[in-house]
Amino acid sequence: MTDSPTAVHVTDLEISIPGGPALLAKTSLTLRRGRITALTGPSGSGKSTLLRAVIGDLPDGARVASGTVEVLGHDVLALPADRLRHLRRHRVAYVGQDPGSALDPRMRVRRLVAETAVDPSPQAVRDLLAECRLPVGDGLPDRRPGALSGGQQRRVALARALARRPDVLLLDEPTAGLDATLRDEIADLLRHLATTRDLAIVLACHDPELVDHCADDVVDLGTAASVNTSGAAPVDTSGAAPVGMSEKTSVEVSEKTSVGRSEAAPASISVNAPASASPPRGDATVPLLAARDLAVTFTRHGRTHRALDEVGFSVAPGSSTGIVGPSGSGKTTLLRVLAGLQHPDAGALTLDGRPLHAGARRRSRAQQRRIQLIPQNPLGALNPARTVGATLARPLRLHRTAAKADVPDRVAELLDHVGLPADFARRYPHELSGGQRQRVSIARALAPGPDVLLCDEVTSALDPGTAAAVMDLLTRLRTERRLTLVVVSHELRLVAACTETVHVLEAGRVTGSGPSRRLLPAGTLPPMAQ
């Protein structure tokens, strides 16, 4: 099986950002002509980084810590710029994850394909488009990428890549967003190309069907850092990856573990469950915070986008509620509406059954005190121009929760509550780590003595250990202080661990609500990629 000539040879490649995380753990990879290799592994395992390293492109600020990449006899990491360009132009083609944005929006399909083509004649271009299963009869070659569907854009990008008749073809998620029929067609096409053109094809992919269908070799970056070019049949098909999750509904989980791989339980998260438009009401009690029929639309370039569409939402006093959904589903918008930062186009809010103004500044002092927001993490969560002490003292003074003389003591006390030493009061945000900043942010929200904490992706930029510690802190504070939590996150595991109820948002609508245990059963969370 190893008799076909080698096209790409990656040896012990390790890529990292100096002083930062490793982007790709030590990996080796061999690609042979006429064969299709699939790279699998959870998101964050370095599939895309590896693919781009093969064409000599590293992410900003990243360095090669060790290893070499040899493509068609060239050491691409040491190749002079013009030779590298020549290699990319004629011999190695790369199609990125999001061809919709990678195709020049101002060029027509015809020109997009002809630009890189060995034979730019109209007939050759049409043949190539037809070969990529694109309809050429209805004027598609004269359209711009914006007028194509996602699947069409993907195939146009593939045609553009093939037009230069490369020796090596690198594809990042070539079938994301395509339906099963198209996916199989693409798989057949790749198979056909590999054989007839003697192409070495590598695809980064988390779609087990595609891997099944066309891959000769499978390299799993998630589990093994080494090669798995054992040839023969595709490996590990039994529990390869989640089933039944189309791209739109998949939710990113940041950990690199491959939990659930062996546990055969099909990961059928009921995100697609029939929508129960009205959320479950806390029995007989008045909800602490509730929203009814919320609608928010954004207009950009004359197109309207419905961020929220008739969303209802309520939380009982002392409860902990999660809001999950893919990015762009409107979960942060919902939280911003609750916090009074985003005016809804329709709908109403209540706090303790009494109407709550949509604008934070129009709410009463007491209402402003009772609802506090913990913003999305990175640096922006704390004012970089102020010390931690000043940041914490401000809400104390604003809501008169402490007498002037007591403020320093209360600041120290707040820092203590979130597990930070009192002398942190003199520090500036940039002198703190990400986890410490998030703790200060939580302390600021606690300062005025709130009833509801709205947490917006509070763990998004933290490593798993720190994220767990921050969530533990929130859970502890909730019981100690009888707080009500609303947690927005795309990290299902964390939401499952610290909430009782969860709402699933998709494209601005609530598509599922229920107890976290049922909707997000612990242990069966698959490593889903974007």
Partner: protein, 336 residues
Amino acid sequence: MSEAAIEGAEAAAAPAAASALRRSLRAVGRTGVVLAKRALMLAVLLAVVFAAIELLPGDAASATSERGESAADTAARRRLLGLDRPVWERFPDWMTALPTGDLGTSARGEHVTDLLAAPFPNTLLLGATAFAVTLAAALALGCWAALRPGGTADRIVGFASGIALALPEFVVSIGLLLVLSLWTGWLPAVTLTAPDGSPASWTMLVMPVLALTVPQIGWNARIVRGALADQAAAPHVAAARLDGLSPRRVLLRHALPGAWPAIATGAATSTGMLLGGAVVVETLFNYPGLGTVLSGAVADRDTPVIAGVVACTGAVISLVLLCADLVRARTLGARP
């Protein structure tokens, strides 16, 4: 994405002619909106200018009064110029007369339109030439710098444009006058006019145009460079680079088209600076344009003339901004 797909399907299904008609109708509608917006802006500017003249002390009649003139004479001239009528009558009159080409009456009782009829085309010639030179040079320099970010050319263009854009036009003019005219004698220092009032020879235009363009080239080269740098970060430009296309092709075919809106806006901003600078440069070179008229108006404290000039230049700038709007609409219209 799904919207685009639906639209794509629709476009495919509908007969080509109908969709073309609809598209052109939409384009006309968009142009109309942009046109109306620019016209409104111009009207607001003129209203503000008129109000400023009214609110501040002194009017044309008292400004042109000669020494020893009695208060009664001034009042009489005020009546003659119509300045005794209330402002809410005069402003609509002035505004509604503008589109017909009537710019009002100067302090000396002449029609402003007649005063500007000869010099305004000369200034437009100077300004348009300078605009074309500016745009061409700025594009060339900006692209040259963007070809190798951080390279020698980039640094030279960056530094030189930083110097050029800060220089007032009259300082550049003095330098040019001394070097090109007084010391080397290559070009005439003073503009001679033909019988019809226009410059006698194209050589008369060289120095004024250069004096106007040097600062504006500096400014616009920076904008071109910045817009190209922004585009270089766009995913499709990065993808074109990964496709191994030549840097020149990536720059001209993939980055530049997306940079047009920013460049057009920058160039439109330059129009005002060019017209303003022309006033000064014309004074230095004795060029028979608006500058001469304005100098006279300044000496006479003749505000109606200046208001008329403001209306003219405002209209020209609005026109250029309108073109920039259309470029922007076209560029953005081509994307999803």
